[in-house]
Amino acid sequence: MKKILSILALAAILLAGASCKKAPKKEKAPAVIGEWQLEAINVRSVQYAGQEVDIYLSFAKDGSFELYQMVGQGRFRKYTGSWTLSGGTLSGTYASGKAWGSSYLVSASGETLTLTATVGGNENVYAKTVIPEEIKTTAHEE
């Protein structure tokens, strides 16, 4: 009987441990969720002279994202994939299975989302927005 209790106790402990491990460390209402437009790039004070960079991001609750980008000229390109936020670090994978070029430290403040690349340390400041429907419908899917 004692042995059984011990086993039960052990099981309970293990289960408790397991459940502790499984329970997502609730990020505080993930601040990244929503639609964003790149507002400023602080690339060590260097600007992309003459090149227009227009980036829209949409992070959904289900862990998927949509990225609409126009870098330089041309039609918006659409990328999709999944994201995770852990310990204040945002990382993700494109639908192709390739990881993002960098993960980002997240800092949110009201209508602003700042993503600081862990590679190189550049800050990308995004403002809350609604992605124009025209961009969504005409973007070229990558």
């Binding site: 002279a49 990225l67 000229q73 960098s102 590679v119 550049n122």
Partner: protein
């Protein structure tokens, strides 16, 4: 021997049966003339038209000196002066070309030599007349009946034209009823261009230099260019452009109204016009590449008739047609004719013999007729001689010549290929058995046709040849100009030509260079076996890709480059999928741009990639030059490809993601 070929291959016929033959040996070779005099002759008098010849004055025209020659009846400008264009005409020497009309009984050669002896005369050109052999192309007319295939599979839902689904050359769904060897996707990738970019613009005028276009054809009439300055059939040159009653264009052969029903006309001009701009979404017939969306927004066709029954194709007629197209607003000329491959073997040889025709071509290329491109775009067929080089004038380095593909997305048995061929497009090929009943005509190209030429009154016909491939590229180029106008973009002629030639889908991956392509009769007997290695890397840059051109016009995004290590940029967005096999000729980057990204070492080009190492975050532009079609650009001593160049914009970042995503 000088020949002018109308590039439409009859079904399994010997290609040269389609030639229009004009004798023209190299002048002076017979030793009859003193060298100084012989150099003034552009061509010889073989097969020359009686009664007239052309002269180009060395400087200011001295018509009085010509008129003073015994036997001269009149001297008139080859190119009628066009108000407002005098400066450009002078720049290209059009004001120096005169036609000398002779009195009856005068000796052509004697008079031409007498004219050449005058100091004021710089060149003499016999005004040759083309002759059309009895045997000619055999179009296969069809009625305007519902399409034979369940037409309204999704792929063809965009337009309601009932014969659309038979136009595999626009959307090739791999229908084996067309050909057993049909290749899905072997088309011009125009569907998305229509859906997301443009279907045309009536401000874009395309001159079809060919047989007369049936301007009253129900599937063409709404897209015909109309000269608003001319009152039809009043016998007066109302707009003062030098041509009477030129409402839809002009007949340069008969000097009058456009015709398409003379003996031995074969509907060639009406067919090529339909590929460019048959009216779309009008519930009848076929679709044209730039035929609009059904809202009156197709490009406009101008008929410049240089063939009429058994006549036409002379130097003077072609030359005047190009000048007319330029003066009356055409942005492109579509020319499904030319000299057979091998008549000229270098740009220099053609230019020396091109005379008035070459001057007029240069004039067209130098004339801006829209806000998007600084000059005219010239597109020719590569020729049906099955020879490893293109025919001239299409082979000229600054002209686009088009080779032909079958529904199998492979070179056709008749097409020219190799140096001088800049790009390919569907031309059709009936030489494949598809059923016990025989060949499928549907493996050719379907377009508009004059009903008067068919005993059953068919208004559409299947034809094949590089003649049919050429208007596909013209149509796509016309779509490109339409889209550039819509977006407010502007290019030099060289830039726009580079974008066209760089907008191609790969063919070489489809060509098994160690294999063969066999064409067999329906009896099972082999008609022809083609060795594919002969065509590998020789069909220009590949198959024209309409969507790719639209994307280039929208603008190619910056390539992102990570700093700190040597990395590469894929050049296919700039030069098409042939970028891996192109011959690159130059790379330019300013010192300022090098500094802006902290370039370390020299950038290099290899196998379609630009290799470089940047050490600073910033942006830069790099101009890359290449050869479009062939391994070297055509020169005065060689036949070759087109010099093309693109500007690559890069931004450098701490990191990049695979596929170019920002994150």
């Amino acid at each position: 021997m000088r020949k002018i070929t109308i590039y439409l291959a009859s079904a399994l016929a010997v290609c040269l049966a389609c030639t229009r033959i004009v004798e023209n040996d190299i002048p002076g070779q017979d030793g009859e003339l003193a060298p100084a005099l012989a150099t003034k002759f552009v061509n010889t008098d073989k097969a020359a038209a009686p009664g007239s010849f052309l002269v180009k004055f060395a400087s200011a025209p001295e018509t009085g000196e010509i008129l003073a020659l015994q036997g001269v009846k009149a001297v008139e400008r080859v190119f009628p002066p066009f108000p407002g264009n005098e400066e450009l005409e002078h720049q290209y020497g059009l004001d120096l070309w005169y036609s000398v009309e002779m009195e009856e009984g005068a000796d052509l050669k004697e008079l031409a030599v007498a004219a050449a002896s005058l100091d004021c005369v710089g060149k003499v050109e016999y005004n040759t007349v083309a002759q059309k052999p009895e045997s000619d192309v055999k179009p296969v007319p069809v009625q305007n009946a519902p399409a034979t295939k369940a037409s309204y599979v999704d792929e063809f839902a965009q337009f309601n034209d009932p014969q659309f689904s038979n136009q595999w050359h626009y959307i090739n769904i791999g229908d084996k009823a067309i050909s057993k060897t049909v290749y899905k996707g072997g088309d011009i990738s125009v569907k998305d261009a229509w859906r997301l970019a443009t279907c045309g613009d009536p401000a874009v005028i395309v001159a079809v230099v060919d047989e007369g276009v049936k301007y009253s054809h129900p599937d063409l009439a709404a897209n015909m260019w109309v000269n608003s300055g001319e009152i039809p059939d009043n016998g007066i040159d109302d707009d003062g452009n030098g041509y009477i009653d030129d409402v839809y264009g002009y007949n340069f052969v008969d000097n009058g109204a456009i015709t398409w029903t003379r003996k031995n006309d074969d509907g060639h001009g009406t067919h090529t016009a339909g590929t460019i701009a048959a009216v779309n979404n009008n519930r009848i017939g076929v679709v044209g590449v730039a035929g609009g969306s059904g809202k009156g927004d197709g490009v406009r066709i101008m008929s410049c008739q240089i063939f009429s029954g058994d006549y036409g194709g002379s130097v003077e007629q072609c030359a005047r047609a190009f000048q007319y197209a330029a003066n009356m607003g055409a942005s492109l000329v579509s020319c499904s004719f030319g000299y057979p491959a091998g008549v000229f073997r270098s740009d220099g040889a053609y230019k020396a013999n091109g005379g008035a025709e070459y001057s007029a071509l240069r004039y067209f290329m130098g004339k801006r007729n829209n806000a998007a491109v600084a000059g005219g775009i010239v597109i020719f067929s590569a020729g049906n001689d099955a020879q490893p080089y293109a025919g001239y004038p299409g082979a000229l380095a600054d002209v686009i010549s088009v080779s032909a593909l079958g529904p199998d997305y492979l070179p056709t048995y008749y097409t020219n290929y190799g140096p001088g061929c800049k790009i390919s497009a569907p031309g059709g090929e009936v030489g494949e058995p598809v059923s016990a009943a025989g060949y499928s005509n549907r493996a050719m190209v379907l377009s508009t046709y004059p009903s008067e030429l068919d005993v059953n009154g068919g208004e559409y016909a299947y034809m094949q040849g590089t003649s049919m491939a050429c208007p596909h590229v013209t149509g796509v180029a016309a779509l490109g100009i339409s889209y550039a106008l819509k977006l407010g973009k502007s290019y030099t002629t060289e830039e726009f030509n580079s974008m066209i030639v760089g907008s191609a889908k790969d063919i070489d991956a489809r060509i098994n260079k160690f294999g063969t392509k066999t064409l067999v009769y329906n009896t099972g007997h082999v008609y022809k076996t083609m060795q594919m290695y002969e065509y590998y890397h020789k069909m220009g840059t590949g198959c024209i890709d309409a969507w790719s051109l639209m994307m280039k016009i929208e603008g190619t995004p910056c390539s992102q480059v990570a700093i700190g290590s040597r990395t590469w940029v894929d050049l296919s967005p700039y030069f098409g999928s042939a970028s891996t096999s192109l011959t690159y000729t130059g790379l330019e980057m300013s010192a300022e741009d090098r500094a802006a990204i902290g370039l370390e070492g020299e950038p290099e080009l290899n196998y379609g990639r630009l290799y470089l190492k940047a050490t600073k975050i910033g942006s830069a532009k790099i101009k890359i030059s290449a050869v479009g079609g062939g391994s070297a650009v055509g020169t005065d001593s060689t036949i070759g490809g087109m010099a093309i160049s693109r500007e690559i914009s890069i931004i450098t970042r701490d990191y990049t993601a695979f596929g170019g995503g920002w994150l």
